[in-house]
């Protein structure tokens, strides 16, 4: 009985989570300075105190909206550019340098540059977009390139137009790649949005609230806001994954078939 409980993976995971929480609590007790490391209780109290004010929800909602716009724009632009880059090598070579540079650039560089270029309210959206678009683009390019060549040959024989090939062959083939890149970019989009908010400090934002905790040395509030970001990130990622799974079930997502006959085509 005991052995089977210990072997149960869910119970194991719960145990490990409790272990890390306990470690946090013990460390906070040892440090005994809420300014440096608040306890779990202090963090939760700070969270409940914030949750009493309507303003808190306004901050959270606006930050979420920024992530939505940033990720949404990156999905649209990433898919369109990705499809054409996958189809035409010169388009790929045109966009590849800029995408590589964006991927390699630290997020703070963009935030600081954006401070010079635009209104503070737009900076988090812009930064979120920049962080996500190369992820979507790279995945879509790969998906287009991995599209079954034998299906494309079939389309060629039956004189299917390029537009219909994109809509009816490439897009369904790439769907799985798009879904996984959306799931991957949500987390990154969320983190970069909050980072941009901390530095750019739009009037209403979670990141702006975090910056204030630094000024007033309210570490418990910082922990509480971080907790909000983490929990929301989990919820969004979980919701998106479920949504995409349901969507792909209904749409018969493509599973590539690698049959031997592909090789014998040249025979």
């Amino acid at each position: 009985m005991m052995a089977s409980i210990i072997k149960n993976k869910k119970i194991q995971s719960l145990f490990f989570i409790l272990f890390w929480l306990l470690l946090w609590e013990v460390a906070a007790k040892i440090v005994d300075k809420p300014v440096i490391l608040p306890t779990i209780g202090q963090t939760l109290r700070a969270l409940f105190a914030m949750a009493q004010h309507g303003e808190f929800y306004h901050h959270v909602a606006l930050s979420l909206l920024r992530v939505f716009w940033g990720v949404g724009a990156s999905i649209i632009i990433g898919i369109v550019l990705g499809i054409f880059s996958g189809l035409y090598d010169f388009v790929y070579r045109f966009f590849n340098p800029i995408m590589s540079v964006i991927k390699a650039t630290p997020v703070v560089s963009f935030i600081i540059l954006a401070l010079v270029w635009m209104k503070t309210d737009n900076i988090p959206v812009f930064v979120c977009f920049l962080m996500c678009v190369p992820i979507i683009w790279t995945n879509v390019v790969q998906g287009v390139r991995d599209t079954d060549k034998r299906l494309l040959q079939m389309c060629h024989v039956y004189q299917i137009s390029k537009f219909r090939m994109i809509r009816e062959v490439y897009l369904p083939s790439v769907r799985g790649y798009i879904f996984s890149s959306i799931a991957a970019s949500i987390g990154i989009g969320w983190k970069s949005t909050v980072a941009a908010e901390v530095i750019a400090r739009p009037e209403i934002s979670i990141g702006g609230g975090m910056y204030e905790t630094k000024i007033y040395l309210e570490t418990d509030n910082l922990f509480a806001l971080t907790l909000v970001v983490i929990v929301l990130s989990f919820i969004i990622e979980y919701a998106i994954k479920n949504l995409l799974n349901n969507f792909s079930k209904g749409k018969k997502t493509y599973v590539p078939q690698h049959s031997k006959s592909q090789k014998s085509l040249s025979g």
């Binding site: 299906l151 040959q153 060629h156 039956y158 137009s161 062959v169 493509y254 599973v255 014998s264 025979g267």
Partner: protein, 224 residues
Amino acid sequence: MFLNIRNLKKAYQDKVIFDGLNLSFHEHEIACVLGPSGVGKSTLFNIIAKIESYDSGSIEGLDHKRIAYVFQEDRLLEWKNVYDNIAFVIAEEKDIRSRVDEAIGSVKLTGFENYYPSELSGGMRQRVSLARAFVYKPDLMIMDEPFKGLDIALKEDIIDDFEAHWQKNKYCVIMSTHDIEEALRLAQRVIILGKEPAVVVADIDCRTMDKNELRERIKNYFED
């Protein structure tokens, strides 16, 4: 002459497939191309279907012809159901519904219109691929070992479907097979490709020859 291939040359890096192949096909005929694996049957078919390039030579008679291709594998779109897979090739044409229904009926898949390829057996999938070729109303039908890997009863069934459709429409068919009996049953002409680079080693009019004699002749070529 329906299709005329003259002095066709094709090589992959270090392997010469054709070095001056001459071959022609006639209207309304079923021509069966036989030959050992790797001789270049699929390459020839792909060149005729314009999905592979060739190095030099000429192919006359392809302009404005509608070509349907039944590949060795079914090449169905997994995200479209049976009906949509067949309608896919005539989506911009007229009378789609009646044509698709007729094609589905001719391969005896009525009732399976809403099934997805993943829900069908290998034989049924190949029938969908055949129906897709039928619905296209081709002038030229290329079939590359279309009945390979099917069990005997199913193969007979599909060949019956094909024969019935051809009798009605009489398009030119160029097909390959490894099964001599299949060739004997369907072909009006048997073309045997051999050697390396490939040449036509025999071009036999089956209509003027007794089946047993033909069988022996074809076997002799393969034994040589």
